[in-house]
Point group: C2
C-alpha cells in the first residue's frame, strides 16, 4: 500500500542544495551514496547540477511523475512545494521540513494545509518535521541521517528523529541489519497504525520495533497492532510513562487508572511486547529477528564458568522461566563428550578451558533434549578460549528449532566473536541477564500467539431502560448518577441489586420496608451528599417499623444540620445484603483506549495495597478470570485459612456485563460497583453499592 514511499522507482528532492551540511544536500548525498538504483531528481531553480546529478529548476521540468517527493524547503514554502509535487503526479511525499505543529499555532495551520492537499489527491505523507525513511533492502536512504545500515529483519518506527540517528549509529557499529527505519515526525498523516500494517505485510520485516511518545488513535492502534502481532513480533518502547497524573477522577477506578496503565493494557491485549528500557527494545528485537520462538519455558544454560551460569540461572527463575532438568540420556551423552570435571547438570559447565567442540556438543545435546525449549550460551574470555571459533561452533548448532541466545562477556577479546555471532544470526548480549530478558520476551509473545480465540459473550440486557435513565440525567445536566439510578442501570444488565425504593416520608419508608422485608438499610438521597456515611446518611440493619421511623426522622435532621442547603430527595430504603466477600468492580474510559475494566478486592486491598488489575473492554470470560488471578489477593477468593471459596465465575460474569454496558453506552465515563458482594458458589452475587459518572459531553448531545 505504501509502495511509492518504501520502494519508489524515482525520488525527487525539492530543495536540493549545493551547500554541504544543508539538509537538501545531505539527503541527495545519502541517496547517491546509499546506492539507490532508481531515478534521483534534485530540484533547485538556481543550479544545473549538484554532486554530479542533473538538477531541475522545478519538478515539471523532469517531465514524468516521480514516485516519491521529498520536501526540504523552508516551512513557509512547503505548502507550495507539496502542491507542485502533487500536481506533477508524485505518489508519496516526505516532508522533512520543521516549523509546523511542534512550533506554534501558525505552524499547526500550515500543517493542516499540507494534510488537506494530500487528502485531496489521495496521496500519503510522512512527516513533517522528520528525519526521513531508510529502506536498506531497496538501497534507499531517503533521510538526512548519514548511516546506511545493512539489510536485515528489524523494521524500526520512531516518534523521535534523534533516536533514529542513535539507533542507526548503533546498528551500523554492531552490523545489525534493518528492514526499514521510519522517522514519523509530527505524524500529520501517516502514523504508527499505518506503519504497523505496512511492516506487517513487508516480507523483509521479521520484527517491528517502535519508539512511541503518544498514539494518534487508540482503537485503530489496537486493531492494527493485533493484526501485525498475529503475523510477526511487535516490540514497543513507550516514553512518558510518569506523566500521567493530574486527571480528575470521581471514582476509585478512575483515580487508579492512569495513561501508563492504559498503554500497558492496550499492548497486552494487542500482543505487543513492551520494552521496559530503550536498550531492551533492541535486545528483544534482535532476538526476535534472528531466532525461532520457544515452545515452552524450560531453559538450558551452557557456560565455561560457574559464576555467570549462576547469574543466568537466577535471571531465568526470576523471569517466570525454568532452569530445565536435562533428560538422563542427555546427561549421559554429555558425560561421554565432556571432561570428567565438567558439570552435566543445568547449567552445563563446559569448564574454563572449553574448546569450540565442547560448546557445540553441549548446544547439540540441548537441541535434541525434549525437556528443553531454549538455550542460553555464555562465554568468558579465559586463557584457552577461542571466541570466533566458538561463535561458529554455536552457530552450526543453531537453526534446529530452539532459540539460542548468547552472552559473550568481556571487551576486545570477544569482539570478533560477537561479530561472528551477529553475522551468523545469533543474538549476543553483553551480560547473561539481558539474554535471559530477551528470551522471556520471546516466551511471552509465543504465549500470546497460542492464546485461545477471543469469544465475547453477549448477555441479554434491557438497553432501552438504560437509555431512558441516562437521557433523564443528560436532560437535567446531571453528570453523577446516584446510587438508585446506577443500580437501575445495573439491574437492566441483569445484575442482582438489593430491592429498594426512595421514600420521601417516614410512613412511606415503613411501607417500603414492610414490602421488602426487614431488616433494611436506609441511605440519604441528595445530589449534594457524596460521602453519605460521613454525615450520618447511612443506617444499617433497621429491623422494625419503629427503628425505620426513628432513623428516617433523625437522618433528615442530621443532613439538614450537617449539609445546610442540600436538596434532599428522600431516603433510599433497601434490602440488607447478606455477608460475603466484598470486591470492587469498575470501569474508567481512557481517552485513547476506551473502557478499561478494573478488579480488586474491596476496601484496603484497593485503597492501601493498590492490588488491582485492569483490562481493556471488551473482555472474554477467560480474560476476566485471568484478571482475578493476576491480583495478589486472589488466594482469598479461592479460600485460604478456613475461609470458603467464593463464586469466582460470578465476578467474571459481572466484569463481562460491565464490559458490554460500557461498549453499549459511550456516555458512561466511569463506573464503580463497590462493594460487589460475592458469596459461595450457588448464592447470588449482589451489587451492593454503585456509582456512575456520565461524560460531560453528553449534556450537549
Amino acid at each position: 500500500m505504501l509502495k511509492p514511499l518504501f520502494t519508489p522507482d524515482s525520488v525527487a528532492i525539492i530543495g536540493a542544495s549545493r551547500t554541504p551540511g544543508k539538509v537538501g544536500r545531505e539527503i541527495l548525498d545519502n541517496l547517491i551514496q546509499g546506492g539507490f538504483k532508481g531515478d534521483i531528481v534534485p530540484v533547485n531553480p538556481a543550479v544545473d547540477e549538484i554532486a554530479g546529478c542533473r538538477t531541475y529548476p522545478d519538478l515539471k521540468a523532469y517531465g514524468r511523475p516521480v514516485d516519491l517527493a521529498i520536501i526540504a524547503v523552508p516551512a513557509a514554502a512547503a505548502e507550495a512545494a507539496v502542491e507542485t509535487a502533487l500536481g506533477c503526479g508524485a505518489r508519496a511525499v516526505i516532508v522533512i521540513t520543521a516549523g509546523f505543529k511542534e512550533l506554534d499555532a501558525e505552524g499547526a495551520e500550515r500543517e493542516r494545509a499540507l494534510i488537506r492537499l494530500c487528502r485531496q489527491r489521495n496521496v500519503r505523507m510522512l512527516g513533517p518535521n522528520c528525519l526521513g525513511l531508510i529502506n536498506p533492502h531497496h538501497r534507499m536512504n531517503a533521510s538526512f541521517a548519514k548511516h546506511m545500515p545493512e539489510p536485515g529483519g528489524i523494521s524500526v518506527v520512531s516518534q523521535s528523529g534523534a533516536l533514529c540517528t542513535a539507533i542507526l549509529d548503533w546498528a551500523v557499529s554492531r552490523r545489525l541489519g534493518l528492514a526499514s527505519l521510519v522517522s514519523m515526525g509530527n505524524k500529520a498523516d501517516l502514523n504508527e497504525t499505518d506503519f504497523l500494517l505496512e511492516m506487517a505485510q513487508d516480507k523483509n520485516t521479521r520484527v517491528i520495533a517502535g519508539y512511541l511518545e503518544s498514539i494518534v488513535s487508540g482503537d485503530e492502534f489496537i486493531k492494527a497492532a493485533e493484526q501485525a502481532a498475529s503475523l510477526k513480533p511487535v516490540v514497543f518502547f513507550k516514553a512518558g510513562t510518569t506523566q500521567a497524573g493530574g486527571k480528575a477522577a470521581s471514582s476509585h477506578t478512575g483515580s487508579l487508572a492512569g495513561a501508563d496503565i492504559a498503554y500497558g493494557a492496550a499492548f497486552k491485549r494487542a500482543g505487543v511486547i513492551r520494552a521496559e528500557t530503550f536498550e531492551a527494545l533492541f535486545d528483544y528485537a534482535t532476538a526476535f529477528s534472528m531466532q525461532p520462538l520457544p515452545a515452552g519455558r524450560r531453559v538450558a544454560i551452557i557456560t565455561n564458568a560457574g559464576g555467570p551460569g549462576i547469574i543466568a540461572a537466577d535471571a531465568v527463575e526470576n523471569s517466570a522461566m525454568e532452569v530445565g532438568t536435562l533428560a538422563s540420556s542427555t546427561a549421559q551423552a554429555l558425560r561421554n563428550q565432556l571432561p570428567a570435571a565438567a558439570s552435566v547438570g543445568n547449567p552445563i559447565d563446559v569448564l574454563g578451558d572449553a574448546d569450540p567442540e565442547r560448546y557445540s556438543a553441549a548446544v547439540a545435546a540441548a537441541q535434541s533434549d525434549e525437556s528443553i525449549d531454549a538455550i542460553i550460551v555464555i562465554l568468558t574470555p579465559q586463557a584457552m578460549t577461542r571466541p570466533v571459533e566458538t561463535a561458529r561452533a554455536v552457530a552450526s548448532c543453531a537453526e534446529r528449532g530452539k532459540p539460542v541466545l548468547v552472552s559473550f562477556m568481556g571487551g576486545t577479546d570477544v569482539s570478533a566473536g560477537r561479530e561472528a555471532l551477529i553475522s551468523a544470526g545469533i543474538p549476543d548480549y553483553p551480560a547473561p541477564e539481558r539474554a535471559v530478558a530477551a528470551l522471556r520476551a520471546m516466551c511471552d509473545y509465543a504465549d500470546w500467539l497460542r492464546r485461545p480465540p477471543r469469544i465475547i459473550t453477549r448477555f441479554p440486557a434491557n438497553r432501552r431502560r438504560v437509555e431512558r435513565l441516562i437521557n433523564r440525567h443528560v436532560k437535567t445536566g446531571q453528570v453523577q448518577m446516584g446510587e438508585a439510578a446506577a443500580k437501575s442501570v445495573l439491574a437492566a444488565y441483569d445484575f442482582n441489586v438489593p430491592a429498594g425504593r426512595i421514600a420521601t416520608t417516614a410512613d412511606e419508608a415503613i411501607e417500603i420496608a414492610e414490602r421488602i422485608g426487614f431488616p433494611v438499610v436506609m441511605k440519604i438521597v441528595s445530589r449534594e451528599v457524596i460521602h453519605k456515611s460521613d454525615v450520618g446518611g447511612v443506617k444499617l440493619n433497621l429491623d422494625s417499623p419503629a427503628t425505620v421511623r426513628d432513623a428516617f426522622d433523625l437522618m433528615m435532621m442530621r443532613i439538614r444540620q450537617r449539609v445546610p442547603g442540600a436538596t434532599i430527595e428522600g431516603a433510599y430504603i433497601e434490602q440488607m445484603c447478606r455477608k460475603g466477600r466484598e470486591v470492587i468492580l469498575g470501569m474508567s474510559r481512557d481517552p485513547q483506549f476506551g473502557p478499561m475494566l478494573m478488579f480488586g478486592l474491596g476496601g484496603i486491598f484497593v485503597e492501601v495495597m493498590k492490588d488491582v488489575t485492569f483490562h481493556i473492554a471488551p473482555i472474554t470470560e477467560q480474560e476476566a478470570l485471568q484478571m482475578l488471578k493476576s491480583t495478589k489477593s486472589f488466594a482469598l477468593l479461592r479460600g485460604v485459612r478456613g475461609q470458603s471459596r467464593v463464586d469466582i465465575s460470578a465476578i467474571a460474569t459481572a466484569l463481562q456485563r460491565i464490559s458490554q454496558l460500557a461498549n453499549d453506552f459511550k456516555q458512561i465515563q466511569e463506573l464503580d460497583i463497590n462493594p460487589f458482594i460475592v458469596g459461595e458458589i450457588g448464592t447470588p452475587a449482589m451489587a451492593a453499592d454503585a456509582r456512575i459518572t456520565l461524560s460531560p459531553r453528553t449534556r450537549q448531545g
Copy 2:
C-alpha cells in the same frame, strides 16, 4: 596489612614454566609485561632461564626472602611448595593451583594442610584455585589473566576467576582504570572481609566492587563492610539469589525469611549498595569512582533531543528521585545563552544542532543552581553534533561539586566522545536509564552516610527467668516452646501478656478464671497439638463459671477423640485480649547473619500479600520505625478511612525488645508473636499468642 600481597618488592613464581600457555609461564610473562619494578624470581629446577629471567632451582638459591610467593605447581606438590616458600621467609602466598576443596574430599584435606602451614607462620594466603591479583598502581599483574588495566579508582574483589577475566577485558577495552583486582578462589584464608578492610584503607581505591556467591562469616562481613562503607562506597553483586528454598521452618517468620532476604538486610545495614545485575555492578562502581556524591535527589537533565530527555525523566521519577524545578534565574540565564527554540525547563533541550558551547552553558547553569543536586547529560549523534568536543565541554563544567553522569547514545559516531568522557573522569552509559540507575545508587549511598548514629536501647529484663525456662526445655529435649512458656519468656522481657495459668481440672479452671476475671479464653496445652483451633482446642469469651466448666469438659473429650494418644497437660485459662490492630512480630536466626527481625500486619497481610519487612538485629528505634513504614499496609496503622491510628511506637519498642532477647539468647532459633495486638496510643499492646523454637544444638549444650 596485606602489603606483601598488594605491593611486594619481590615476587617468586614457584612452578615457572618455559612452555607458553602454561599457567607458570603466563604469570611470569604478565609480571614482566606489566612492568613490575621489583625482583621477579622464577623457580624451576630444570631450566636456568625463562623469558630472559634468571631462573632458580629452588627458592633457597635466591638467597633472600621474597615478599610474595606465587604457587603454580600441581595440587599434589602445592603443600611442599608452600612449606618451602614459608621456610624461605615468604611474607605472603598466592596459590593459583586448582584441585582442592572445589574438587573432592581429598582436595579439601590438602586445602586444610595449606591453611595450617600459613597459620603456623602467620602468613596470609590468597586462593587456592584463583586467577591471582593485579595492582595496576604497583604495575603488578600477579595473575594468569593477560590484560593489565590502567591504574584507576575501582578495586574489584571476585569469587569467580572467569568473571575477573571478563571484567579485565571489558575494563581494558573501555580504558577504565582499576585500583586492584583480586580473584579470591576458594577463600581458604583471605576472604571478602579481609579485602574490604584492606581496600578501605588503600589510598588508590575510591570504590570497592565485589562479586560474591557466598560469604565466610556474616558477622565479620557486616562489621567490615560497615567500616569500609563509612570510608568509601562498596557495591556488591550477589549471585545465587534464587537458590534459597528448602529450609524447613516452623514459624511464619522462618518460612518468609530466605537467604536472599538476609543478604539484602545485611547489605542495607552495612551500607553496601546492592547491584541488581552484573552490568549494574560496574555502572555503579564507575559513577562512584569518578563523581562526587549528590547532596539530594533533584536532577537536571540536559539533552539535544526530546525523546531521550523524556526517557531520562521517566527513569528519574521511577527511581525515587525528582526532575528538579530550575530556579527562575537559571532559566533566564539559559534563555540568554540558548536559541529561542531551546527548552529551558527541565529537561533542558539544547536542540538537535547543539554545539559544545550550548552543552557547557547548560551544565554550568545547572551546577550553579541551588535547586539542583545532580546532572544527567544526554547526547544523540545528529548532523551537527561534535561528540569529542562536547565531551570536553561537559568535562570542563564537572568537578564543581555536583555529580555529572552522561549518556552518549549510538555507536561509532560517539565512541571517540565516550573515550574522551572516560579519560576526563565523566561516567558514560549507553542509555539514559543506566545513567539514572547509577545516580540513584549514589543517592542511596549518600543517604546511608547521612544516617543518624545507631543507638541501641537496652531495656530492663529478667534474664535469669528466661535462662531457667530455656534450660528446662533443653533438659527435656523440647525444641518447641509452647504458648505458656513462650509468653513467660516475653513477660520476662517486659511484654504485656494476658494473665493466665494452666488448669488440670474443671474446678481449677473456674478458680483461675475467677481470679483473672471473666470473660476468659481456654486453650488446650499439649505437645502433640500444634494447630489448636483446628481440633476444638480453643474457646473464646467464656463469661461464667458454668461456661468454663462446660468448655473444659468438652475440650478434654474432643481432644481425646480427635488426637488419640495426645499427652494433655491441661488447659490454659487466660484473660481475653481487647480488640485492636493485629500485627505479627517475629525473629528467625539466619545461619550467616544471625537474628533477622520481621514485621507485618496480621493474617492475610502476611500470608497472602507477603507484605513484610526484615531487619538484622540489633535494631534501633529509628530502624524499627523504618521497618513499619516500609510495608505497604503501614497506612492502616497510621489510620485510614475512619480507622484510628494505633500506638506505632509500641510496635517499635516490641521489635527492639525481641532484638535484645534474640541477642541475649542464641538458643532461640525462631520466634513468632502472632498476633501482637496494638490499640490506640495509651492503651497497652499485648502479645496475644506466641511461639518460640529453640535451636536443636542447645540439646547437646
